[in-house]
C-alpha cells in the first residue's frame, strides 16, 4: 500500500528542521537567473529549478495562490477568456511563446493568468478595498500570527479593536477534499457512551489532520508553466530552438541532442529525483549522466544486446536487461550482480515504495525482485506470450502489461492470474502508461488508436485515431502525454480533463525513430531516446513544480540521500499489500472475521454480537396477557426496516412536495392565460 505523499509537508518540515541550506541555495540560484530574465523581454520564462528571484515590487500585489495541479479541472471557458485578455494585451507583437514556471518572476509584465487565478484576483481587489495599501501577500501570514498573539479570550485586541475576520481562516472545500481520507463516519446516536467517545475522538482527529494538511497547502509556492501562442498560432508549431532561444540560459541548456549513431536506438530512464539519466543503446552502450551538469558518471559497452534499463531506488544502482540475464551495476559502472533467475527480460519497472523490480520477459514470465533483500518475490507465468509492453500504476503498484491480442492485463505479485484483463485494441497493444494518481491509463495499439481509460472503473473515456499510431507513450507528473510516431514526438495536454483534444500541444521531430520517451521528474523536460542518440526537449508545464523533499528531493546531498535511504527502507511496503485497492489494509478481513465469529458462536453457544430479542416487560392488571404481549411485541417488530421505510417515505414526500411547488409555480395563471389553448 502506498499513500500519495504531499509535497507541502516536506517543505514545511524542512523549514521546521532548520535546514535552510536548500532554500538558501534556491534563492541564490534564482538571484542569478534574474539578470537573464531582464534581457529577454520577449519571452518570459523560467525553468523549474533555478530562476530569477522575484523583484519585490513585481509581485507584492499579487496574492499567492495555490498551485494548480493537473488533476484539477480546467474549464475551457476560463482558458478562452484568459486567452482573449492576453491577446488584447499584446496585439503588437507578432508571436509570443509565454512560458512561465514561477509566478514570482514575471517582472510585472504578465503574460496570462492561470485559469484558477481568475477568481482569486477578484478577491484581491476586494480585499484591497478594505485594507487600503496593505499588501496581502507576504504580510498576511505574519499579521495573522500577531493577531492571534494579541487576541484575548474575549476576542478583542489589547488596543480595543475588534477582529474584522474573527475565527480561523476558512479553507476551500476542494482543498479539504484533496486531503480527505476515507469517508466520514456518522457516529450514531444510540451506541454506548464509551464507544461513542472513541468514535467521535477519532473523527475529530481525522478532521484535524485533514484541515491542517489543507492549511499547509499554502506552502506550495511554485506554479507550473505553460506555453502559449499568439492568435492564430498553434503551440505545436513552435520549435524547440525558438523556445530554447527565448528562455534563460539555464533553461535553454536543457534542450540538447546527443548524437550517438553507433549503438542506437536508445532507451532511457530518469532517476526519481530527476537529476540523473540512464541511456542504453540497443547494441550495448550504457551511459549514466548527471544530465543537468552534463557530468558523465559512467559509460561502458556491455557487448551484448540491451533491452531495457532502469534505476533502482537511488542513483547508486541501476538494472540492465541484457540479452540473456539481468544485470545490476552501480553508478560507476561496476557490475554488482548478474541475476540468472531473470532471463530474457524485455521490460522492467521499479516499484519505489516496495523496493521491487518487476520484469517482463520474452518467455511470458512476470517476475518480481525485492532489491532490498535480493530475493525473488514472485514469478508468474502469464501464458500471454512475449511481454514487451509494460507500465506500473504508481497509485497501487499494480503492473500493467500489454499483449499482442489487444488486451491489457493488471498484475500483482500475489496472484497467479491477472487481477483484471481488459480488451483495449483490435490489434496488439504497442504502448501504455498510467498517470501518477492512478486514475487514468493511456494505451496505443496497432490499430493506430490512442485510448484513455479511467482505470478505476475500467471504462474508456476517449478514443483517438492517430494516423501513424503511437509507438511509445509517457505521462508527465502534471499529466502531459507524449506519444511518438516514427521520428516525431508529440505532446498532448488535457488528455482527459477537458473535451476531446484535436491537436497536439507540442511536436518535435527527432533524427531517428523513437525508441523510448520519458519525462524528467520536477523538470519541464522530455527525454527522447531514438536511433540516432538522445534528445532532451523542453516541454513547459510538464514537471511538478513543488517537490516533497522527504519523498524525493532533487537537491539532496549525499548525506540526505543516505538518510532518506534508511527511512525509505524502514517504510518499505511489503509486497503482500499490493492489490487493486491500496486501502485494503484499512479494512477488516470479512471472510476470516465471519469464520472466527462462527467459531465463537459455537463455543459460546450464543451469538454475542446478535441483537437482543425484545422481551416484553411483565405488567400487571392483565396487561401481560398473551394478546397484549403480542401486541407489544408487534410494536417494536422490524424497527430497523421501519426506519428505512420511514426515511424513504420522507424522501419521497419531500420530492413530491418540491414537485408540487414547482407545478404550482408553473400553473400560476395570468389573466391572459384564458386565451391560451
Amino acid at each position: 500500500m502506498h499513500f500519495l505523499i504531499n509535497e507541502w509537508e516536506a517543505c514545511y518540515r524542512r523549514e521546521l528542521n532548520g535546514k535552510w541550506d536548500l532554500l538558501l541555495r534556491l534563492r541564490l540560484l534564482r538571484g542569478k537567473g534574474s539578470a537573464n530574465e531582464r534581457k529577454c523581454r520577449k519571452y518570459t520564462t523560467e525553468m523549474a529549478a533555478p530562476g530569477g528571484e522575484a523583484l519585490a515590487t513585481a509581485h507584492v500585489e499579487r496574492r499567492r495562490k495555490g498551485p494548480r495541479r493537473y488533476w484539477e479541472k480546467t474549464s475551457k471557458k476560463d482558458s478562452n477568456g484568459e486567452k482573449s485578455s492576453v491577446e488584447a494585451k499584446q496585439k503588437a507583437k507578432k508571436r509570443r511563446a509565454a512560458w512561465r514556471k514561477r509566478k514570482g518572476n514575471l517582472n510585472g509584465m504578465v503574460v496570462s493568468e492561470a485559469p484558477k487565478c481568475n477568481q482569486e484576483q477578484t478577491q484581491d481587489t476586494s480585499k484591497k478595498d478594505n485594507y487600503g495599501e496593505k499588501s496581502i501577500d507576504g504580510t498576511k501570514q505574519k499579521s495573522t500570527a500577531e493577531e492571534k498573539a494579541a487576541k484575548r479570550s474575549d476576542g478583542k485586541f489589547i488596543s480595543g479593536k475588534t477582529d474584522p475576520f474573527p475565527g480561523e481562516a476558512p479553507i476551500p472545500q476542494e482543498r479539504l477534499k484533496k486531503f480527505q481520507r476515507g469517508n466520514k463516519f456518522v457516529v450514531p446516536e444510540e451506541i454506548r457512551t464509551k464507544l461513542k467517545n472513541t468514535l467521535t475522538n477519532s473523527q475529530e482527529a481525522a478532521d484535524l489532520a485533514q484541515t491542517q494538511a489543507a492549511r499547509y497547502d499554502l506552502l506550495l509556492t511554485e506554479d507550473a508553466g505553460f506555453l502559449e501562442g499568439d492568435e492564430g498560432e498553434d503551440t505545436c508549431t513552435i520549435s524547440q530552438d525558438d523556445i530554447a532561444e527565448a528562455v534563460d540560459i539555464t533553461s535553454g541548456s536543457k534542450y540538447f541532442n546527443l548524437h550517438l549513431t553507433q549503438f542506437g536506438p536508445y532507451r532511457l530512464d530518469y532517476s526519481r529525483t530527476g537529476r540523473h539519466l540512464l541511456l542504453a543503446g540497443r547494441r550495448g552502450h550504457v551511459t549514466c549522466i548527471e544530465w543537468q551538469t552534463k557530468n558523465l558518471m559512467c559509460e561502458m559497452n556491455v557487448m551484448e544486446m540491451v533491452q531495457d534499463i532502469k534505476w533502482l531506488h537511488s542513483e547508486a544502482m541501476f538494472a540492465v536487461a541484457q540479452k540473456k540475464w539481468l544485470y545490476i551495476y552501480d553508478s560507476k559502472g561496476i557490475e554488482l550482480h548478474c541475476i540468472k533467475k531473470f532471463n530474457d527480460v524485455l521490460r522492467m519497472q521499479f516499484l519505489p515504495y516496495h523496493f521491487l523490480l518487476a520484469t517482463a520477459s520474452a518467455t511470458g514470465f512476470l517476475q518480481y525482485l525485492d532489491v532490498s533483500v535480493g530475493k525473488e518475490v514472485a514469478a508468474i507465468n502469464t501464458k500471454l506470450g512475449r511481454l514487451d509492453v509494460m507500465a506500473q500504476n504508481p497509485y497501487n503498484a499494480v503492473i500493467h502489461l500489454g499483449h499482442p491480442n489487444g488486451t491489457v492485463s493488471l498484475w500483482s505479485p500475489n496472484q497467479k492470474e491477472p487481477l483484471v484483463k481488459m480488451l483495449c485494441h483490435r490489434g496488439g497493444v504497442r504502448s501504455l502508461t498510467v498517470d501518477r494518481t492512478g486514475t487514468y491509463m493511456v494505451t496505443s495499439g496497432l490499430d493506430r488508436k490512442l485510448k484513455v481509460y479511467d482505470i478505476r472503473a475500467f471504462k474508456p473515456l476517449h478514443s483517438y485515431f492517430l494516423p501513424a499510431g503511437a509507438s511509445s507513450l509517457s505521462l508527465s507528473q502534471r499529466g502531459l502525454l507524449s506519444a511518438s510516431t516514427g521520428d516525431i514526438v508529440q505532446v498532448y495536454r488535457d488528455v482527459w480533463g477537458g473535451g476531446p483534444m484535436t491537436k497536439p500541444y507540442m511536436a518535435h521531430r527527432v533524427r531517428g525513430t523513437v525508441w523510448g520517451v520519458g519525462y524528467c521528474p520536477f523538470e519541464d523536460v522530455l527525454g527522447v531516446g531514438h536511433a540516432e542518440g538522445f534528445t532532451s526537449m523542453i516541454v513547459p508545464g510538464a514537471g511538478e513544480p513543488n517537490f516533497d523533499a522527504l519523498d524525493m528531493n532533487p537537491y539532496r546531498s549525499t548525506k540526505q540521500r543516505q538518510e532518506w535511504e534508511v527511512k525509505a527502507l524502514l517504510e518499505k511496503v511489503q509486497p503482500e499489500l499490493i492489490s487493486l485497492d491500496p486501502g485494503l489494509l484499512g479494512t477488516v478481513d470479512q471472510a476470516t472475521f465471519e469464520q472466527k465469529h462462527k467459531e465463537r458462536v459455537e463455543a459460546l453457544g450464543y451469538d454475542p454480537l446478535a441483537a437482543e430479542k425484545f422481551k416484553p416487560r411483565m405488567k400487571k392488571r392483565g396487561r401481560s396477557a398473551a394478546g397484549a404481549v403480542e401486541k407489544r411485541k408487534k410494536k417494536v417488530a422490524h424497527e430497523d426496516q421501519r426506519d428505512v421505510i420511514r426515511k424513504s417515505v420522507e424522501e419521497r414526500m419531500e420530492k413530491e412536495r418540491k414537485e408540487s411547488a414547482k407545478e404550482q409555480l408553473k400553473e400560476k395563471k395570468t389573466a391572459l392565460d384564458r386565451f391560451r389553448k
Binding site: 499513500f3 477568481q119 478577491q123 478594505n130 479570550s153 475588534t162 474573527p166 475565527g167 481562516a169 476558512p170 481520507r181 463516519f185 450514531p188 446516536e189 444510540e190 451506541i191 468514535l199 482527529a205 481525522a206 485533514q210 494538511a213 491480442n405 489487444g406 500475489n414 491477472p418 483484471v420 484483463k421 480488451l423 483490435r426 490489434g427 496488439g428 496497432l446 490512442l450 479511467d454 475500467f458 471504462k459 473515456l461 476517449h462 478514443s463 485515431f465 492517430l466 494516423p467 473535451g499 491537436k503 497536439p504 511536436a507 521531430r509 531517428g512 525513430t513 536511433a531 503482500e576 484499512g586 477488516v588 478481513d589 470479512q590 471472510a591 472475521f593 454480537l609 446478535a610 441483537a611
Partner: protein
Amino acid sequence: MRRKGVKAVPAAMAGGDNDEEELSPDDEHIISASEEEEGSDDERKHAKLLEAISSLGKRRRIKQTERSEASVQVSEFSVNTDGAGEKVNLSDLLGTMDKTPGAPNKTKQQLKNLQNRKETLELPLSKQQTEKIQREVAYDKSSKEVSRWETVITQNQKAEQLVFPLRQDPTGPKRMEQVVAGWKAKTPLEKEIFSLLHSNNQPVHDPVLTPAEEASIKAMSLEEAKMRRAELQKARALQSYYEAKARREKKIKSKKYHKVQNKGKKKEFLKQFDEMMKADPAGALEELKKMELSRMEERMSLKHQNSGKWAKSKAIMAKYDDSARKAMQEQLEMNKQLTQKLVVPSDDDEKSVEEADALPDFVNDPEPILDSINPWMRGMLTKELSEPEVTAVATETTIETKDEVQNGQQEEQGEDEEEEENEEEKLLREFERKRKLWQDEDDDLVPVPQEEKQVIHVDVAEAEQVARKEEVAGEDMIEISDDEDKEEEEEEEVVVSEFNSLFNRLMKSGSAPPVPEQTGAEGAELLDEGLVRVRNMDDLEALQQDVVMETTQPAPASATPAPSMETTSEPPKKKKKKKGIDPNEVLTKEAKVIKMPLAPTVVDEEEEEVHAEQTAIIKEAFAGDDVISDFLKDKRKQEKAGQAKVVDLTLPGWGEWGGVGLKPSKHKRRKFRLKVPAPPPRKDQNLPAVIISEKRNSSVASHQVSQLPFLFQNSTQFESCIRFPVGQTWNTQTAFKKLTAPKVITKMGAIIEPMSKEDLPPEKESSGAGRGAAIVLGETVEKETKKAGRRKPLRQKKSSKQ
C-alpha cells in the same frame, strides 16, 4: 466565669437535660450576671452550713426499705404506709422552679411543655434498629462524600491525556512572597533597595500584577467553560424533565388528586401573593389582572350558579341532607368570591400604558406571511400580500421581537399558572437568570459600529447585485433599484440596524427570554435572503459568486463554452449524456482523428521497423474478428468457472429398484441434488470488455484485522477509526503529535500523590438546594441514558446484522 454559671444551673434544676448545658452565650451571661461573685470554696461551705442547719430542725428521715427483688411473698412489715395517700406529681417537683429566680426562662418553658404532655414516652428502639438507622445515615454521609469524586474520575477517564502530577503550579508571573518564603533582605544592597521601595511607597508585599492583569490571568479557564456548558445542558435537561412531569401530571384523571393539588396550589398562591404585594408590586398587579379576568369569566358563565345538574340534585337533597346543603353553600360562596370586584390602583395602570407605548407601533402589526400557502399562518386573513420593500427590513426584525414579546407573556402566564414553587423551578429560574447574564455580556462585546461596518460590507457586494435585485424584488429584503438610491438605502439600513440593536437590547433587558429563530424550510429561505453577515473576505467573495451564479443560471445557453477551433465531428449528444465511452462499444466506437503538424518520415534503413510495420498492417487487416471473440470466450469461461455448481449425491438403486434403463425417481433427485447458493454478481457484469478476477486476495489477509477489538460493534465503526494514517509521513507535525500523544504523561522526578480533596472542583455554596436537585437529576439522567442504551443498541445491532 462562664463555666461557673453553667455549673450553677444544673445544680439549681433537678431534671435538666444534658442539652441545656450548651446554652447560648447570652443566657450564660445573664446567669453569670445574676450570680454573686464568690469563690467556689465559700460557696461549698455555705451549702454545707445550710444543710447542717436544715438537718437540725427536722426529724430524721426514715430510711425506707426498698424492694430489690421481685418475690411472691412480700413482708408486711416492710411496707410503709406513710405516703400511701398522696401521689407525687411532676408539678410538685417543679414547683420550686418558679420560685428560683436563677432558672432560665427557656428551661421553664420546656419543663412546662413536658408537664402538659399526657402520653408516655416511647420505648427506645431496639439495638438492631438503631444500628440500622445509624448505618443508613453513615452510608448517606459517606456516599455523598465519595460521590463528590465521581465527576473528577469520569473526567479523568474521558480525558485524552493526563499529566501527572495532577496539580501543577500555574504558569505565569508569581508574587515574590510565593517564590521566596521567609526571605529577608540581608545584604546591604537589598536593604537599600527595600528601603527605597518603602520610602517611595512602592508595593513590596503587594501583588506584582495590577488588578486588570490579575483579572486577565484569571479569565475563564477551560474547566470553567466546561462547567458552564454542563450547567446549561443540565438546565435544558431539567426543563425537559419538568415539562414531561407537568404533562404527566396533567394527564392524571383522578379528580380527587386534582382537587387536592388545586387546593394546595391555591394555598401556596395566596401565601405568595401576600409576599408579592410587598416585594414586587408590579407582579402583584399582574396577578390582580388575572383575577379580574377570572372574575369576568365567572360572571359570564353559569358554573357556580345553581343551574347545573349536580346543583339541582343537591338542591333536592338539601332539605334532608346536611352535607348537601353545605356543599351548595360552598359553591355559592365560591361564586361570590369569584365575582367579587377587585380594587385596582389607578396609577399603576398608567404605567402599564406607558410601557405599551414604549414599544413601537409595528409590534402590533400582523406578522408578514411566512408561509404564503398556508392561510392560517397569516395574522390577518385578507390583506395585501406585501408591504413596501423598504420597510421589509423593519418588519423582518419585528417578527423576532414580537415573537419574543409573545413568548415572554406566555412564559409569565405559564409561570403563574404553576404557582407551585418547587426546587426544580427555582433551579430553572436560576439558570435562566445566569444565561441572561451571559448573553448580556456577549451583547456588550459586539459594539454597534461594527454592525454598521457589516452593512457597508454588504453594500459593496450589493453594488454588483443591482441588476439581479430588480428581478427578484418580490422577496428581497433590501431592494435597490438604482445606483442613486443606493446611498439612501445605505443610510436607512444603518439606521434600521441601529434601531434593531437598540430594540433588541431593550427586549433583552425586559423579562423576555431569547427565542429560537423560526424553523422550517420557508423560514430558512427567508433568512438566506436577509442581511448577510460578511465575516471575512472569502465570504464576501462567496457572495459575489452567488450573484454571478444566479445571473448565469437563467441563461445557461450563453454559458456553454464556445466550440473550439477544429471540433467538427463532435456530436452534441455525447456531452450531454455522459463523459466517456459506453463500455459496450469500446472497440467499435468511432475514434477522433488527431491531425499532426508533422508527418513522420518513413525510415527505410531499419529492416526490422519495416517488417514490424508490415506485420502491423497485416494484423490490422485481420484485427477485430478473432480478438474480440477470443476475449469473449475467455470471459464466458471465467464466468462459468465462478458459477455455483449443483452437487448430485443420488445413489442409483438405493432404496428402490436399480438397473439398466432405470433412473432414480424425481423425488430422490430433488432431495439429493444440493444447490450451492449463487455467488454475488461479478464485478465485471456491466463491463463487456473487462474480466475482473473474483479470486480472494488472501495475502493481505495476514496483515488485516480479522477480529473486532473490544468496544466496536461492527466493522464499519472500526474501519472509520483506522481510515487515516497516523504517521509523520502523512501528517503535519502538529497533527502527528496530537494523534500520537501518550495517554499519560508523568513528570520526571515529581511525586505523584493520590488525589486530594483540593483537586476537587470547588463546591458551590450559593445554591444548596439547587445542587441537591441537580444531583438527583444527574441520576435520573443516567437512568434515562441507561434505558436508552438498553433499548437502542438492540435496534442498531439488528441493523448491523442485516
